[in-house]
C-alpha cells in the first residue's frame, strides 16, 4: 500500500465524521433525533430501550489497482497541499478493510418516517480533492458545500432521480443544497479539475454510512427487525445481505469485495422509467 500516514489519518477522520453525521438523526440520546426540538410530527423515533445496531466490516480480497498520479501543476494552490504528489486511488485498503463503501438499509423499515437531522453534512473541496470522497445524507438534510482552496471549483451533481445542480465556487465560500429523493448514488464532479469526483448516497432514513479506513461501519439506533443491508463501491458495484436484529441487540454483517468484481455494474441512480 502506498498511501501516506497523512492520507490514512485524513480518511479515518473524514469517514468517522460522515458516519457520525449520517447516523446522527437516528435517535442517539445526545443527537438531534431525540432532542426536544426535533420535529415530532416527522414520525416515530426509536426508543432507546429497544434500539438495535448493525455493525460490520467491509473486506477486500485481491490486488487493488495501482494509484495514479494526478497532475496538479496547473493549480499550485492545490499542488502545495500534496507535498508528496497527489494520487488518485479509488480502492482504499488498510489491514484488509475496504474504505469508502456506502452501507445502508435498503429495505425493512416499512413505512416508518424519520425526522430530518438539523446538522448539515459537509462536502469540502480541499487540495483539489473532495472530502469525503463518499458521503451519506438524508433527504432534506443540508449539504454544506465548502471551498477551502479559494480557487475556482464547480460542483456539478449528476443525479438521475433527484434534480441536480451545477454551481460555481471561485473563492473560499460555503453553499448549501439538499436532495428531495432517496438515491444511490449521486456522482459529483468538478469540470475544472477532471480528476475530482465524489459520490453522495441519499436515504429517507438515517441508517446509512460509509466504511472507514479499516473497512468498519455501524448503523446505530435501528428499530428491531429484519433488514436488507446493501454495500456499494464505486468500482465493484453492490452486494446485499439480510440480517435480523432483536431488541437492544447488535448484529454483525461482513461484506467482501474483491478485485474480480471490477467491471460489475455500479448503480448510479435508478433508471428512469418512461411511461
Amino acid at each position: 500500500m502506498n498511501f501516506s500516514l497523512r492520507q490514512i489519518l485524513a480518511l479515518v477522520v473524514v469517514s468517522g465524521i460522515s458516519i457520525a453525521t449520517a447516523c446522527g438523526g437516528g435517535g442517539e440520546p445526545t443527537d438531534d433525533g431525540a432532542d426536544g426540538d426535533a420535529p415530532a410530527a416527522a414520525g416515530p423515533v426509536v426508543s432507546p430501550d429497544s434500539a438495535a445496531m448493525i455493525t460490520g466490516t467491509v473486506s477486500f480480497e485481491g490486488t487493488a489497482p495501482a494509484a495514479e498520479p494526478i497532475d496538479m501543476s496547473e493549480e499550485p494552490t492545490c499542488a502545495e497541499k500534496h507535498p508528496d504528489g497527489a494520487m488518485r486511488q479509488l480502492v482504499m485498503v488498510a489491514g484488509g478493510g475496504l474504505a469508502n463503501v456506502y452501507v445502508y438499509v435498503k429495505s425493512g423499515l416499512g413505512d416508518r418516517s424519520f425526522p430530518t437531522p438539523s446538522a448539515p453534512v459537509t462536502l469540502d473541496q480541499d487540495g483539489c480533492e473532495y472530502m469525503p470522497h463518499v458521503l451519506a445524507i438524508q433527504v432534506g438534510q443540508s449539504l454544506e458545500i465548502k471551498n477551502s482552496d479559494g480557487i475556482l471549483h464547480n460542483i456539478n451533481t449528476q443525479p438521475t432521480v433527484n434534480r441536480g445542480f451545477n454551481i460555481s465556487q471561485p473563492v473560499v465560500m460555503e453553499t448549501s443544497r439538499e436532495f428531495s429523493q432517496p438515491e444511490v448514488m449521486i456522482p459529483v464532479k468538478c469540470d475544472v479539475h477532471g480528476w475530482m469526483e465524489a459520490f453522495i448516497g441519499v436515504q429517507a432514513h438515517p441508517y446509512a454510512g460509509v466504511s472507514g479506513a479499516d473497512g468498519s461501519f455501524s448503523l446505530a439506533d435501528l428499530p428491531p427487525g429484519e433488514y436488507e443491508i446493501e454495500a456499494w463501491h464505486e468500482l465493484y458495484g453492490t452486494q446485499s445481505q439480510t440480517v435480523t436484529v432483536g431488541v437492544k441487540e447488535t448484529a454483525e454483517v461482513s461484506f467482501t469485495f474483491s478485485s474480480d468484481m471490477a467491471g460489475n455494474h455500479v448503480p448510479l441512480g435508478e433508471p428512469l422509467v418512461l411511461r
Partner: protein, 515 residues
Amino acid sequence: MSTKGFAIGVALSAFVAAAPAAAQETPVGKAIYDKWCAECHGEDGAGDGSAAAYMLPQPRDFTTGLYQIRTTPSGELPTDDDILRMIDEGMPGSAMPGWKEYLSDTERNDLVQYLKTFSPFFEDEAPSPVEYGGPPGVNEEGLAEGKEFYDKIECWKCHGQAGRGDGPSAPTLEDDWELPIRATDLTEGWNFNGGHTTEAIFARLMTGLNGAPMPSFADLIDAEFMTEEQLWRVAQYVKSLSPETPEVREVVRAALVETLPTSVDDPAWDAIERFYIPLVGQIIVEPRWFAPTVDGVWAQAAHDAQRVALRLTWNDPSESPNPEWEEWRQRVVSVMEPSVEATDELLSDALTVQFPTTIPEGMKRPYFLMGAQDEPVYLLSWNSGGGATEALGRGMNAIEPIGGASTLTTESTFDDGQWRLYLSRDLITESADRLAIETGRPIPMAIFAWDGSNGESGTQGAISTWYFLYLDQPTENITYAFPVVAVLLTAVLGLVIIARAQRATGGGGPEPGSD
C-alpha cells in the same frame, strides 16, 4: 380517449397555449415530433436517433429533463417558454435549427407539451424563472469591472484569457453524457446557444447550462462575493468580446497598397478590410468529418501590383501538435469514429488556400474538393509543423508539391486560441503550374482548415465553398490626369463666366480688397 375528446384537447391546448401546461401527448405534438425531430432526438426522446451518431454536440436526451438554455435555477426544469425558445431559435452552436418559421404556433406549443412527456420529472414540478433586475448602462469603467470579475471568478479556466475557449481546463471538459464538449468561444457570440444579447448572457451566468460543465454563478451573489450589478458587468464584458456578427460576402477584395504588409502582425493589416469565410465539416469524401473545430476564417488581402499578401485569422483553442490536448483528441475520435483506433501520432494544425491553376472564364470552377485528376487546383498549403508550400491537387488524396523556385513567403503565429497566417507571393511567376494572379478579375478561392488536436487531417477537416479573390486594378497614369484637367477646365470656365457677368453689370461688383 375518443376522437371527440382528442379534438377538444387540441382545441383547448391551442386556446391556453401561452400558459404553463401539463405534459401531454397531443396528436399534433406527436406527429410533428415523429416527422421532424425523431431522426435526431430518437423516437422515445433519448437523443439516440439515427442521425445522432454523426453529431457532436449530440442531440438532446429529453428523458433526463436536462435543458441547457433556461430561465430557471441550475438543475431545474425549463419553463414552457424556455423550451419554446429553443425550438424557435434553435441552438446555433449545434446542428439544431430554429423552427419558428416552419411550424405554426399551435404545432410548436403542442411540441413543447409532447417533449415534456419524455421525462417523468415534468409530472410534478412547476419551475419558475429566476428573478433579477435589468442591466446597468454600458460604459468603459463597467467593462473594466466586468473584465476584473471575469478574472476573479475564473471564467478563463475554461474560456481562456481572451475568451476563445482555450482555458487550461478546456481539453478535459465533458457533458453529462460523458461526451467531449467545447468551452464556448466567447468571441463568436453568434454561435451562443440562447442568443448573445447581454440579457441572454446574464441568464446563462445566473442559471448555468444543465447537462454541460457551465455552472450557475448565482450563489456568488447570495454569498455577497459580488453584486448582481457586477455579474451584469461580466455579461457586458462577454458581450463586448464579439462586437460584430460577421457578414458573409462572396468576394474577398485585395486592396492595392503602396507598401505591402511584410509580416503576419504588420500594423498595416489593421487598415485592410476583413472578410469572413464560414467553414463546415467535410462530409462528401470518406472518411468524413462531422465535428470540425474551425467554423470560420477571416481573410484579408492586399497587393502592390508585384506581389499579393494574404492574412488568414482563425480561432482554434489548441496550438497543435499539443500533448495537453491528446486526451481531447482521443475522446473526440472515439465518439466520432468508434471503429477507428486513434493514432498515437500527434497531429499538426493546417490550412490550405485553394485556387484554380488558371483564372477561369465566366463562372466555371474546378471541383472544390482539391480538384480532379483532369482539372487540378493550385494550393497554398500551410502546416503548423512545416511552414507553407505550393502544391497541385488532383483530389483530396492526390496532392503534390510543385517543384522549382518558389516566390512564396509565409509566417504564422498563435496566441490565446487564435492562429494568424501570412502568405505572400509574386503575382506572376515563370511556372505554368503556379496560378498567374491577375488584377481586375475574380479569382475563385476556397479554404480548408484542420485542427490536429481534434483528430483532423486529410479528408477529415473543415472546408469552405468557393469564394472569389479580387485584386483591385492599378490605375493607369493617364487616369490620374483626368481629374486634374477637369478641375482646371472648370476653374478657367468659372473665371470666364465671372468676368463676363462683371462686365455685363457695368463692373458694379465689389473689387477685391475694396473693403
